[in-house]
């Protein structure tokens, strides 16, 4: 498709999926792919079945077991979460009855939805893809419009092939300059959220652009887009380029042969045109950025690992919110974060559990040991990531250092009632949310890059990985 006026990437995808304009500025938007998981998708499937409504096109619907499934070796349908087995069994039955693609507990392609969707080529540039999961925005890194919805909206997408929505505004967040060694996409996202606030993206589809974004590999771009929901954005997305096509080519569900060539040539039309206008434009110079770590209970409570816990005036939080966060986290205003003693370290989640994350972490871990009394866990994002990591010997490095090496899943990114790190335990975590009790009742979460997590695991204290890398 060609257009007269310069358009943004988001606007192009929007127009290509516009079925009909409805009254009140509402668009009926075609949905190309629906992904479900056993936590929230199970309810959508069950509810549709009870209403007697068929899924309009099951071949474009995918489901995985990631949220509740155990990640301990030798796992089956039983889970540590009380009642978890029922979610898995009911999801399996509903998925089979509906005839949708299912990546079951023992499937070789099982994994976290936002890890396996790009890995299998389910999300493609220019597509619309939804999942009842807030981190669906991760997949915008492929050049798609990918966003999280509720279960009721998932039912709508399944039953009609469309969603009704008001068009979000557009924002371009331009990252200029070149990242220093040891500073990652995770740090970029935390800088952005700390600077503009955790509601800074509210109402927007945010396109990430600029030289620092172009330089990121696809897995790092997925990490950057993953955190768009922590910015309260509708989604984050990045223009597809040759890296995207090279990443996707040959994957299980991508178009083949002549279709591939045709698809790529259409995808090349997607990037925002010169002169395209956005409703908001911001930029961040990345040159002087450092690895980031959170000190409080919102992703916006993030500072460089070399910095101190900010005083209230500089924290961006209200006096009440600040006092609550400081109290919950048991950190001291003005005290350095580096050196703060930790009890646990977690590498995993849809944010940072891909092969490149594990490789970078393993490079720092090699020949070193996790500090005594630190519980350290690594959960690869998919079974394919796990196999690749094992083929390279990364599992040995993690295990020799003292990390548990798990089966793939969301695991301890959140507490579902089963496993937890324990009350008041301090965890350094490569995940996305440091909310109160997110990783377990009263557990204190500091989010950071995988590098910062493993460096801290080795030190037994929050640490600057750049010193370790030497």
């Amino acid at each position: 498709m060609t257009y007269d006026a310069p358009l943004t990437l988001f606007e192009k995808i929007w127009r290509q999926h516009l079925v009909k304009e409805l009254p009140g500025g509402v668009a009926l938007l075609a949905i190309d792919r629906v992904f479900l998981h056993e936590r929230t998708g199970s309810i959508a499937l069950k509810s549709l079945r009870e209403a007697g409504r068929p899924i309009v096109d099951p071949s474009r619907v995918f489901c995985t077991m990631d949220h509740i499934v155990d990640t301990l070796p030798g796992r089956g349908d039983d889970t540590q979460m009380p009642g978890g087995r029922a979610f898995i069994v009911e999801t399996r039955e509903a998925a089979r009855a509906a005839g949708i693609h299912l990546f079951d507990v023992r499937d070789a392609d099982q994994g976290i939805v936002h890890v396996i969707s790009p890995e299998l080529g389910i999300v493609l540039p220019g597509t619309t893809i939804v999942c009842p999961d807030s981190h669906t925005c991760t997949q915008g890194a492929i050049g798609s419009f990918a966003w999280g919805i509720g279960s009721t909206e998932a039912e709508h997408a399944l039953a009609t092939g469309c969603l009704r929505m008001n068009k979000p505004k557009t924002m371009r967040m331009t990252f200029t300059g070149k990242l220093a060694p040891g500073v990652t996409a995770k740090d970029l996202s935390l800088v952005m959220i700390s600077r503009f606030g955790s509601a800074g993206g509210n109402g927007y589809a945010v396109e990430y652009a600029g030289s620092a974004v172009e330089a990121l590999d696809i897995e790092a771009r997925l990490t950057l887009c993953n955190m768009a929901t922590e910015f309260s954005a509708v989604t984050g997305l990045i223009a597809p380029d040759d890296k995207t096509y090279n990443y996707l080519q040959g994957r299980r569900f991508v178009p083949q042969g002549a279709d591939w060539d045709r698809a790529v040539s259409s995808w090349r039309q997607l990037p925002s045109d010169d002169g395209a206008s956005f409703d908001a434009e911001h930029s961040i110079d990345v040159v002087d950025l450092a690895p980031m770590v959170t000190w409080g209970t919102s992703p916006q409570h993030a500072v460089p690992v070399t910095a101190a816990v900010p005083q209230q005036q500089a924290s961006g939080a209200s006096a009440e919110a600040y006092a609550r966060a400081i109290g919950y986290m048991a950190v001291e205003p003005g005290a350095p974060l580096e050196g703060l003693k930790i009890d646990a370290a977690f590498v995993g989640s849809c944010t940072n559990s891909r092969l490149s994350d594990l490789r970078r972490a393993a490079m720092l871990l090699k020949g070193r040991k996790v500090a005594p009394d630190v519980r350290a866990i690594c959960v690869p994002g998919s079974m394919a990531v796990k196999r690749s990591a094992e083929a390279e010997g990364l599992d040995r490095i993690f295990k020799d250092a003292g990390f548990e090496w798990r089966e793939s899943g969301c695991s301890m990114c959140f507490f579902a009632g089963g496993e937890s790190f324990g009350p008041r335990e301090r965890v350094i975590s490569s995940t996305n949310r440091n909310f109160e009790s997110r990783q377990g009742p009263e557990t204190r979460t500091h989010i950071a890059s995988p590098e910062t997590v493993v460096a801290s695991a080795i030190a037994g204290r929050i640490a600057d990985a750049r010193k370790l890398a030497g």
Partner: protein, 209 residues
Amino acid sequence: MQPFVRLIAVTAPLLRANIDTDAIIPSREMKTVSKTGLADGLFAGWRYQQIGGREVNPDFVLNQAAYAGTQALLGGDNFGCGSSREHAVWALAEYGIRAIIAPSFAPIFFSNCVRNGILPVRLSAEDVAAIAAWVECNPQQHRVSFDLPAQTVVADEQAYRFELASEPKEMLLEGLDAIDLTLKHAPAIKAFQQADRARRPWIYDIGGR
């Protein structure tokens, strides 16, 4: 879905920013594949003395006699952020909450509210604080009036106008099922898909080796 037209409600202030859906309903309280049986777990981490327990925390606003029968909440910025779990909204609705006023809502939560008969009202932080201050003087007497057709909230004899797009407004007023509405456009959807299939066959004909 229960329609929302007008409501005069005991309204409880919960003014902290970034009240996330984990706080509204902790994951551990989502025990079965069901949209019901969730009210008991609403705000469980704040409402009860202990994790998993049911001994009430008397300090939590909804546990105070002054706020008995609460049907509306006043919240801080970015209300409902975090997980997309619609359980948060199902739990609020089952508990009896029909409206929430906040300076901003996380987008998925906002949409989930509209689809479950809860009116999300965006007012400035100053207005929310003013309403909260008035309510707190005498929560049972100082009830907040919500008028969706007029798009106003009335508190302390002051009317606050709020914005809401026409479709969510209609859906709330009529208690409409969005799937039924959309299926009326089935011919347009079919026509779109036929044309789109010619343009982008790889979207529809998924091989998958």
